[in-house]
């Protein structure tokens, strides 16, 4: 079906075509720059490998920090000598927490939040319990990993 008139003026067509192409070109170029300028966000690791002796021989009712990606993890030996590994980061606003042995609780100084020795949020603003990791010992190495992650160390 041929129509007698043009649906769009030459000016509008040309403007739209040019403007659209120019905009896409500029956008693509600036997007490349943006991808360069945007930092590579560090993912948290699936597991870390530590020296077993350094971490398992700590006195009871104390913690020892270890690096977990860019954050801090804690190896925690309870008063009953049971050792657990947890992420030493408050579930409220991600401040680093500290263990108070006299209270047998973890404390977050940013907003005065408290977690018990099982990680449950018992006082203050934190909304969720602390995140715990699993670990195993192999050849003098302490392998701390997130729950459910299967770790196969390469045989050197």
């Amino acid at each position: 079906m041929k129509i007698d008139y043009s649906l769009i003026t030459r000016r509008t067509f040309l403007n739209a075509l040019l403007g659209g192409w120019l905009a896409s070109f500029a956008f693509a170029s600036l997007y490349a720059l943006y991808r360069f300028a945007f930092p590579t966000l560090g993912k948290e690791p699936d597991f870390v490998v530590l020296n077993a002796k350094d971490f398992l021989d700590i006195p009871p009712n104390s913690t020892k920090p270890f690096p977990w990606g860019g954050k801090v993890g804690l190896i925690f030996k309870r008063a009953d000598r049971q050792v657990v590994a947890l992420k030493g980061v408050c579930t409220h606003m991600e401040c680093n927490i500290v263990y108070k042995p006299e209270k047998e609780r973890f404390y977050c100084p940013c907003h005065k939040g408290w977690f018990d020795q099982f990680g449950r949020n018992v006082e203050g603003p934190p909304p969720k319990p602390l995140e715990f990791f699993e670990y195993r010992v192999e050849d003098g190495k302490l392998i701390v990993h997130r729950k459910g992650v299967k770790v196969e160390l390469p045989k050197a």
Partner: protein
């Protein structure tokens, strides 16, 4: 793209008639030499690219001498397209200075500096100095042995200026020798002081161009030249040329990424065959022309004095060229301009090829 309500909002509060008049009425003469008009815009475009890529690079570069070299390597090897943006920053710098020299010599030979545009020449001269210093300071930032040697020579050479030499050398180096302090200082020059100076002086330079309009070469004086509106005709032509320039820059950056020499060691001897960047070659070739002692005085000091005088004369050219000021042909100064140009080109080539 009209948005009448948005325009109305602004027009109820601000009077845009002057700006709109400038936009409508700004016209550019058409003649055989009009291609040279585009050189300034190309430099501006390349400069804007430098600002954008420079800001992005500054997010990752570390200006501490122990870490600087490593941070550049990390940018080039570890980041998304880091190698490309560093390469682009390098090549756009080279192109910007190259086109800048074309722009300077074009305005010199076309006598655009004549009355009433003397201040354009003056501000332009400062911008030339700033651009060269941008080049030198940026070149130093990777803290590699080539750049280290180059900056040692350049600041040492500046130290030979009469009267102010020691002061200039100490100010540039941040001390007696080229050290990590020099790196921090050059970084401050490169990302803070020079950009701010450029903003101010370039702003004046561009304003003066709008105020005076485009200069027409003397050979067209008296002729009734056709004029083309700047918006949108010349702007679209500008855009086309800028896009070609961008294409060239991107191609150079992709095909020829620049080297990263070994990390600088202040105690090591200078590497073999080290040369300054090409835009300094004419100066160093000139220095080489002078013997160690001339007429009983230090040859290098004499050379530097003569060079300084030549540069000073270049700077004050519009004020010496009386015939241009009166709107007359000035073949003497055309010849002087040609001499400057030929000297610059020949000395640069000689320096490059030897």
């Amino acid at each position: 793209m009209n948005f009448p309500r948005l325009r109305g909002w602004f027009e109820e509060r601000y009077d845009f008639t002057d700006v709109r008049d400038l936009a409508r009425k700004k016209r550019v003469p058409v003649h055989g030499r009009e291609l040279w008009y585009y050189t300034g815009g190309i430099v501006l475009f390349l400069f804007i690219i430098q600002v954008l890529t420079g800001i992005a690079l500054a997010f990752y570069y570390v200006p501490y001498f122990e870490e600087a070299h490593k941070s550049v390597i990390e940018i080039v090897t570890k980041l998304n397209m880091g190698w490309f943006f560093r390469s682009l920053h390098h090549w756009v710098a080279q192109m910007a200075i190259f086109v800048l020299f074309i722009h300077v010599f074009a305005t010199l030979l076309l006598k655009s500096y004549r009355k009433p545009r003397e201040l354009l020449w003056v501000s332009g001269f400062f911008l030339l100095g700033i651009s060269i210093f941008f080049g030198l300071s940026g070149y130093f930032l990777p803290w590699d042995e080539r750049a280290f040697a180059a900056v040692r020579v350049a600041t040492g050479g500046a130290g030979n200026l009469p009267l102010i030499g020691t002061w200039v050398k100490a100010f540039l180096r941040g001390g007696i020798d080229v050290t990590g302090e020099t790196l921090v200082r050059f970084y401050a020059f490169h990302v803070c002081l020079l950009p701010l100076l450029t903003l101010v002086i370039l702003g004046c330079h561009l304003f003066l161009v709008q105020y005076h309009g485009m200069s027409v070469p003397l050979s067209y004086k008296g002729k009734n030249l056709e004029e083309v509106p700047f918006f949108p005709n010349v702007l679209l032509r500008d855009l086309m040329i800028w896009l070609v320039v961008l294409g060239v820059a991107v191609t150079l950056a992709t095909l020829l990424p620049p080297e990263i020499a070994k990390k600088a060691d202040p105690l090591a001897p200078a590497p073999e065959g080290v040369k300054p960047e090409w835009y300094f070659l004419f100066l160093f070739q000139t220095l080489k022309l002078f013997p160690g002692t001339l007429l009983g005085m230090n040859g290098e000091t004499i050379a530097i004095v003569l060079i300084s005088l030549a540069i000073l004369f270049f700077f004050l050219l519009p004020f010496f060229d009386r015939r241009s000021r009166e709107g007359e042909r000035s073949p003497l100064f055309t010849a002087i301009g040609v001499v400057y140009l030929i000297y610059f080109v020949v000395m640069t080539l000689v320096g490059y090829l030897t």
